[in-house]
């Protein structure tokens, strides 16, 4: 009869399975631990806060992961068929209650702990005096608009959009406020200053994503989403599109440059001059 060959071969299979589970767990955890492929350093205070929450989550899930896989490895080896009789028990209510409550506290607690970082990104608005920059996504480029010396964004009209003639966001030149607006395919910001982003899209849904800012936000047609950040480390950071937007999705990228205040003033002057 088929399954009455009982213990035959079960030790080999049980041992192989247990060894594989342990090995898989150790190797997987090693690559997380050694940070072989990892986040780039964060350049904002919120970014560091998010990284700290990552660390907490890694710790908790890591412990659960190792315990569960090792527990499974132990059980398959220890309780392999050696001709013994299985112990009969149908459950244990105390244990059920204990591990239910323990996971509630652990998982929901972790979720509540993450609130702080999320609140800083989204519940709070940009600090007063923030520099507003409008981001427009379109297949397959980003455009960044600065309000210029008057501090006001001028009117835009869809029918004036013409990427080929150099008006990619459709600035209405009859509006005086739009005269000094600066539109650039890259974004430069001064370090240590609050920046307010106004994120929008002209055609389909895109997503503004900068790894070092730990920020990602969909640019949704018909909506304006506000985000804010304050970058402290000068440098060049790649901007990618993170929401599938069509065949050129992968090549919709740009560059964020964080520079010192004087460098930024200079960059701004150059843009204004080019705008004349």
């Amino acid at each position: 009869m088929l399954r009455r060959r009982s213990e035959h071969g079960s030790t080999t299979v049980a041992l192989s399975l247990a060894i594989f589970l342990v090995l898989m767990t150790v190797v997987s955890v090693y690559f997380f631990w050694a940070k072989v492929w990892w986040f780039p350093p964060a350049i904002t205070a919120v970014g560091h806060e998010i990284d700290a929450q990552f660390a907490r989550t890694f710790l908790i899930t890591g412990i659960v992961f190792v315990m569960a896989q090792f527990g499974l490895a132990y059980a398959v080896f220890k309780f392999r068929d050696r001709g013994q009789k299985a112990t009969y028990f149908e459950g244990n209510n105390t244990m059920e209650i204990v591990w239910t409550l323990a996971t509630v506290v652990l998982f929901v607690g972790l979720g509540l702990y993450a609130r702080n970082a999320w609140a800083q990104v989204h519940f709070l608005g940009a600090a007063p005096g923030a520099l507003p920059i409008e981001i427009t996504g379109q297949q397959f480029v980003w455009n960044f608009r600065y309000a210029g010396p008057d501090g006001k964004f001028g009117r835009e009209k869809p029918e004036l959009v013409s990427a080929s003639t150099g008006n990619p966001v459709g600035l209405d030149s009859t509006d005086p406020a739009s005269k000094d607006d600066i539109v650039s395919p890259v974004i430069a910001v001064p370090a240590n200053r609050e920046i307010e982003l106004i994120i929008r899209s002209q055609d389909v849904t895109h997503s503004f994503y900068v790894r070092e800012l730990r920020l990602k936000q969909d640019a949704v047609p018909g909506m304006e989403v506000h985000m804010h950040f304050n970058a402290t480390v000068p440098g060049n950071y790649e901007i990618a599109c993170a929401e599938l937007c069509g065949l050129g999705h992968y090549r919709m990228h740009s560059m964020l440059t964080v520079m010192s205040e004087p460098d930024f003033e200079k960059w701004m002057k150059e843009q204004e001059a080019a705008n004349q």
């Binding site: 398959v76 459950g91 999320w118 969909d218 599109c241 599938l244 065949l247 999705h249």
Partner: protein
Amino acid sequence: MVTHENGGGGHGHHQAPTGFIRKYVFSIDHKVIGIQYLCLALFSVFVGMGLSLLMRLHLGWPNAHWSIFKGGLMTPEQYLALMTMHGTIMVFMVLTTAPQSGFGNYFLPIQIGAADMAFPVLNMLSFWTTMLSLLVMIAAFFVAGGAPIGGWTSYPPLSALGEMAGPGQGAGETLWIIGLAIFCGASLMGALNFITTLIDLRAKGMTLGRLPLTCWTWFVTAILGLLAFGVLLAACILLLLDRIAGTSFFVPAGLVITDQVVTWHKGGSPLLWQHLFWFFGHPEVYIAILPGMGVASHLLSTFSRKPVFGYRAMVGAICGIGFLGFCVWGHHMFISGMSPYSAFAFSILTMAIGVPSAIKTFNWLGTLWGGKIEFNCAMLFALGFVSLFVSGGLSGLFLAQPALDLYLHDGYFVVAHFHLIMGVAAIFGMFAGLYFWFPKMFGRFLNEGIGKVHFWLTFVGVYCIFMPMHYLGLAGHPRRYFDTTALEFLQKLQPVHVFISIAAFITIGAQLIFLFNFFWSLKAGKECKEENPWHATTLEWSIPSPPPFDNFGGVEPVVYHGPYEFSVPGAADDYIPQHLAPNLVKKA
């Protein structure tokens, strides 16, 4: 009890059809329909895998020339079409059909002691409607512009504006939506049938507390399907209207595509689609995985010769997952522009759904504990399921936190997460079920030796494919990228892509071994002459292998025992079948 004039549900006596067409094609026998669904899923899974093979070929070696592509290189739209169709076919035609409509159709009526589903003709109609839906979707490859490129989530406006939004977004996208709407119809019919069958057609003594956990999961999955597919159907109809009737449910005013103003749309909201889609989409994850949980619980108990640890807690967890599954869809939309306050609420609910999942894992370990484990292929896949469920589930704790999702969203970490849990774990549940039930379905065993090779290559393979994807995600790799060298920081991740591609080829190769085993065993596998080769307890093991047309030969079985009475103290055998009258149980 429900009986029907036409074909007869329940325990009504009906004659087995004799003609080929009525027997194998337009059959109303739930067993034949179950096998039809499994064949459809088997065909689809190889199509879906073939598409992923092409994607991995490209991702591993983006600049190499392959003669299968025109000009030697894949184009971005080809890549996105492969990706869209891979996701769609795998989610709908494999993960939704095989565990529920395939195995559920075959074994739910038998396990509850019924002669057929409640509505056999409706059952046949659901299968053929599903088949139609598959044909319509596959047709998308062959129309002008090719298959759609918008992903299986098909977000508008990309999916609503037609060809101007990109190649494949014309006729291909229209066919995709129609195919999906048809699929919704089929699933609704199936869900109604499952629910009615389970409620009305249980044999005498088959109380809810004696239902095998497989039946519990099929039941809850059917309820999820009934509530979720109706919403997706509505969403598909609205999207179709936006495309062909000039309505604007999902498209706002003032769009400009390549300098052309879209004047014929105004007032719609792209987020509305996302809410409707994910209101379906998240329960869909559980539609895919719940039956796998049922099969894993069933097999862990059977092959460790122990009752399921905490049966009631397991049923509670299944229902809890089913209920919470409808309260968490917003975690797919943390960065969509949705209110950050609702994001926070969705986040806490999502963390909470980890609790029933953890209960299940604890109980699986509790079931193994103190057991006498037999390592046949069915059991190996069930154990693999538990391991993969843990690995894939824990990454959900990261994605459930909006603050972390800011970084991980739409990246490879997400790809790793959902492939492990809803793709691979669910497929391990199906393999476990297939190795277990094959002798009952076909009267022959799948070959154990070949099966073990299949298991090991697949188990090691899927970990080698999907574990490294987490690292890509942590390094910030966005998903759905045709060119993995497009960004500077992606270039140093290329060796990981090469590794994943090689692992994928080996794993896909292992599925050919399975395919061989499947067909070879059908013809020449070891014969299963007995009713109950595994010494299992549930009702399908009380009837011949394969079962006769009306399952129980016109006699309604009576159930006396719970589903998992293994190694009961005082009994001579280490299992007590559910149908065995108490006075027939041999004493030790």
